[in-house]
Symmetry: C2
DNA sequence: GTAAATATACCTGTTTACAGGTATAAAGCA
DNA sequence: TGCTTTATACCTGTAAACAGGTATATTTAC
């Protein structure tokens, strides 16, 4: 008796599910354990069944795919999550990885590439479709917008701010006047075009400064 | 005449450089264009020479490897960066990817695995040494510490805060009292054990909430 | 060697955040 | 069903951030 990999599909487009289903039915080693059009449906299912690999769309009606990925990895850390999406934004790819995905495929992958990625990820590999590799390794292409250039001091202070330190403490730690730190803080807000620290830290974090 | 890949090594431990050098000298297709023990040395070099692949240590005397990686990808987006480090923290791995690295190898990789990774990354693959794959796909193992569980409302407000909105505006947008939003904000600070929004946003971002 | 960028310091007023409470209706779960 | 969590609302005072300036050594870069 052949061992079969239990696989699930989560995608709110029935057409996509149909397509994947047809594709995977031909594969002997795969047991399509279920298809779901909403995140909560799948979570419910996952609580009672074990799934080895799930193909996960990112745009879902009830919950976004990145959050869902995190939930899946919390409930079933061994379940392999492959993102399957149209989103080409670098930030989305990174967030999926952040949340434990084992790979990211754009929906334009070929059948061969898809099957290959499924197999590789089952072996523990981390897989990306061709276009995604470019997106990951060429950060400049996307957000060439403006990555502000910070001085050493600014980076230092940015970092301390992100740790929750208040201005006066930062001043003491760096042997500066409180007012100097305020100036740096002001410059940071300007450089990042942020309205306040909250936005500042978000952008800085996204740009990889923290 | 054989075409050779121009490769550089940046590592502040001379021993590591020696070791890599010896290993790579046996490889015909590789031209070891230079070895560097500090980040600024390499940056200087990179401005005048083209390098196809650089093996990059993360702990350096003058600049940290993640920042250096970002600089490299800015100056020479085509240069492939392979992180080569002892750091097993998930956050470090993610930051290197964030900054455009094509892979992450722990220093305990075997010679075979290393050469294999170099070759694969030259083909455009994104590569990780075995242990790193585990680190990426099992977020829970490391920071199982406490990932706070947020309600839908809290996520909503967290997100708005991260966009730089102030309390009163958030209240208006969600048709809530300013005071209610303040309570949510307070709860967020508590759940994330943050001293203020700056720290809140940093942690939330690291945990993948944003 | 000169110009530009950086780091430093100061001032004033207004707005916002934060700490420390209390309280209640509604939704969700057992 | 009854218990718990979630979302809602309110109060008060203090601390901190932010906006809007000006100004000057000291590096760094060209």
């Amino acid at each position: 008796m052949l061992y079969k990999t239990r696989l699930a599909i989560v995608d709110d487009h029935p057409v996509v599910i149909e397509g994947l289903q047809k594709l995977l039915l031909n594969v002997d080693e795969i047991d399509l354990a279920g298809t779901f059009t909403s995140g909560s449906d799948f979570i419910q299912f996952l609580k009672n069944s074990s799934i080895e690999l799930v193909i996960l769309d990112i745009s879902l009606p009830d919950i976004n795919g990145t959050d869902l990925c995190k939930q899946i990895k919390t409930i079933a850390p061994e379940t392999i999550v492959l993102a399957f999406s149209n989103h080409t934004e670098r930030s989305v790819v990174m967030k999926m990885l952040q949340n434990g995905a084992s790979g990211y495929l754009l929906k334009n992958v070929s059948a061969v590439e898809l099957l290959n990625c499924i197999n590789e990820s089952l072996k523990g590999q981390i897989v990306f479709s061709e276009a995604v590799k470019e997106i990951i390794t060429k950060p400049g292409l996307q957000n060439f917008s403006e990555i502000p250039k910070l001085t050493k001091r600014e980076k230092e202070i940015l970092c301390l701010i992100s740790e929750g330190r208040i201005t006066i403490d930062i001043a003491k730690m760096l042997f500066l006047s409180k007012l100097t730190v305020e100036t740096h803080r002001k410059n940071l807000l300007q450089k990042f075009k942020a309205k306040n620290v909250a936005e500042l830290i978000k952008i800085a974090s996204k740009e990889g400064f923290l």
